[in-house]
Amino acid sequence: MNNPLQPQACEIISVKKQGGHEFTFRVKSDAKPLPGQFMQLSLPKIGECPISVSGYGEGWLEFTIRSVGEVTNIIFEKQPGDLLFLRGPYGKGWPIEGIKGKNVVVVSGGTGLAPVRELLNMCADEQGFSKSTTLICGFKDETGIVFSDDLDRWKTKFRTIYALDKDEKSGWRVGMVTKFIKEVDFKGLGDDYALIVVGPPIMMKYACQEALACGAKEENMWLSFERKMSCAIGKCGHCRIDETYVCLDGPVFPYKVAKNLVD
């Protein structure tokens, strides 16, 4: 009998520090996730948890992990050549077909940049993928900044607004991401845009409120949820909200669905 909970051993190729709290692990894997999907990462005798795929290429995957939980703390001790255990990919990612050819606006908070990174790379590198791209990307402080190389590269490819909540940094703005949403002319974009909001729950709540106040339309907005999961296959019940399972039906939701998902 097939066991969907069986993970595969994957060798760590490289470990790269990202800012003050995060590391990006590149592992050997032939899995082909779609942007916005997640996988279950585990270490025997430590545990298992859901992590967004922050990057992928031929024969490898990347996960950008913050040291905040039991499992992730131990992952931080791993080095190239060590093993991580993976199963997945799981869930529904960004609606690529619905986004393609549109003006793409991404609002991200903190490590929320990870699940949207490959989508931003598509916007940057694939000719004609997006009509225009705007990234409003905020971090709490300088040590929280992740994907610095990508941020530098994206700056040359499309419109970017980078911000730290309170601290000053050359070339960066000061304030929460919500403050800069009004600089996007949603009405000017007509109906031809996709607004993607991803970050901590409170940030997503206020960012969506602000976007709607600035004229963004509900049907053009998408969010990505983070929930506790033990199985990622619709059994354990941890991520359920009403009749929706975040692991199966999400983590990416159209705003029109997400707004009714009250915990």
Partner: protein, 348 residues
């Protein structure tokens, strides 16, 4: 075909069945109850027919045999994962109609949801044949008739123990028929409870708007003071499936360990806490609302056929705060009617 066996012949039959099957049934555990000198009735492997408790409802459901309160998923030796082998022998599971119906509900989640079949559930379920235990009557917490779960035809064999000790069997499963080749044929058809003392009305939540208002209704706040978030109701529940996985390193050799599935509960604090510390539904009232709506709205909204409650009433028995799901359900119905009336009033 149905049969009647004397108590001695029934004991002998039980011994014969045990050669081929593991037999799980509700058994009495003396003085293991919650209060001093009280017993507990729960599922365990039965050595004889005499051990099986027929005249009282078990405190804990039959689901404990199929989805145990804890089980090893994988064994670890250093970096290797080896899936646990699990039970391989066929099982006869003595169960009442509510418990049998609850497995149809659990299967929707474990063996269907999202197109994934949980191997640990499925391999156990495949070894199980139900022996229907006729309910002589229902107790004051049963409300199976209201839930439509008082009947079932999903059984390999049905059993009734009469007052004189004789035992009647209806045998449906071909593989069990040879065990009765020497037995006396009798007229016997299992009877089902037709009426419970406790009756409930099920709420009709017509749309997301009413659902949203019901979530905000003050009725849930009452449980902030009453519910202690112990999760006893969901452990006793015939249908609840939620679990957490936990990795364990064995004490005397931390290189070896296991990944274990442990029954969890949406009622306990921390059920939804993510790695960074964020959590949802942080009051007992919120969690009670989450459970009630799953039982009487959300499950049906996803799977379409029935509610996620079989009216076994075990949660009522187990609650240390005397919270009854039936009263909660009545309050929920009243709240829904109130919301609909308000809405109707507002539209006029």
């Amino acid at each position: 075909m149905s049969y009647v066996l004397s108590s001695e012949r029934a004991d002998a039959l039980f011994s014969e069945l045990k050669k081929q099957y593991r037999i799980f049934a509700p058994k009495r555990f003396k003085a293991q109850g919650r209060y001093s000198d009280t017993d507990i009735i729960r599922y365990a492997e039965a050595a004889s027919l005499e051990e099986i408790v027929f005249d009282e409802k078990s405190d804990y459901p039959a689901k404990e045999v199929i989805s145990p309160i804890q089980q090893a998923l994988f064994f670890f030796t250093e970096d290797e994962y080896r899936a646990s082998k699990g039970n391989t022998r066929p099982i006869l599971l003595f169960a009442r109609p509510c418990d049998i119906n609850s497995q149809h509900i659990q299967a929707k989640i474990y063996a269907g949801n999202g197109g994934y079949v949980d191997m640990y559930y499925e391999r156990m379920r495949e070894t199980v044949k139900f022996v229907l235990m006729e309910c002589p009557s229902s107790d004051d917490t049963c409300f199976c008739v209201s839930m439509g779960t008082n009947k079932t035809d999903d059984y390999a064999m049905a059993i009734r123990v009469d007052n004189d000790g004789s035992v009647k069997f209806k045998v449906c499963d071909e593989a069990l028929k040879p065990f009765f080749s020497q037995s006396t044929v009798a007229e016997y058809e299992p009877k089902f409870v037709k009426e419970n003392e406790t009756k409930v009305t099920l709420p009709d939540i017509p749309n997301k708007e009413v659902l949203g208002k019901l979530k905000e209704h003050p009725m849930w706040k009452e449980y902030n003071g009453r519910c202690i978030s112990c999760g006893a109701c969901t452990i006793a529940c015939s249908t609840c499936t939620c679990f957490t996985t936990k990795d364990i390193a064995y004490g005397d050799n931390p290189e070896v360990g296991e990944r274990r599935r442990v029954t969890s509960s949406c009622q306990i604090d921390g059920f939804s806490t993510v790695a960074g510390g964020a959590s949802y539904r942080n009051t007992a009232g919120d969690r009670m609302r989450f459970k009630m709506l799953h039982k009487f709205h959300d499950y049906k909204a996803r799977f379409g056929d029935s509610h996620m409650c079989v009216g076994c009433g075990r949660c009522i028995h187990r609650c240390p705060e005397f919270i009854t799901i039936t009263n909660a359900l009545n309050k929920m119905c009243n709240a829904v009617e109130e919301i609909k009336a308000e809405k109707g009033g507002a539209e006029k």
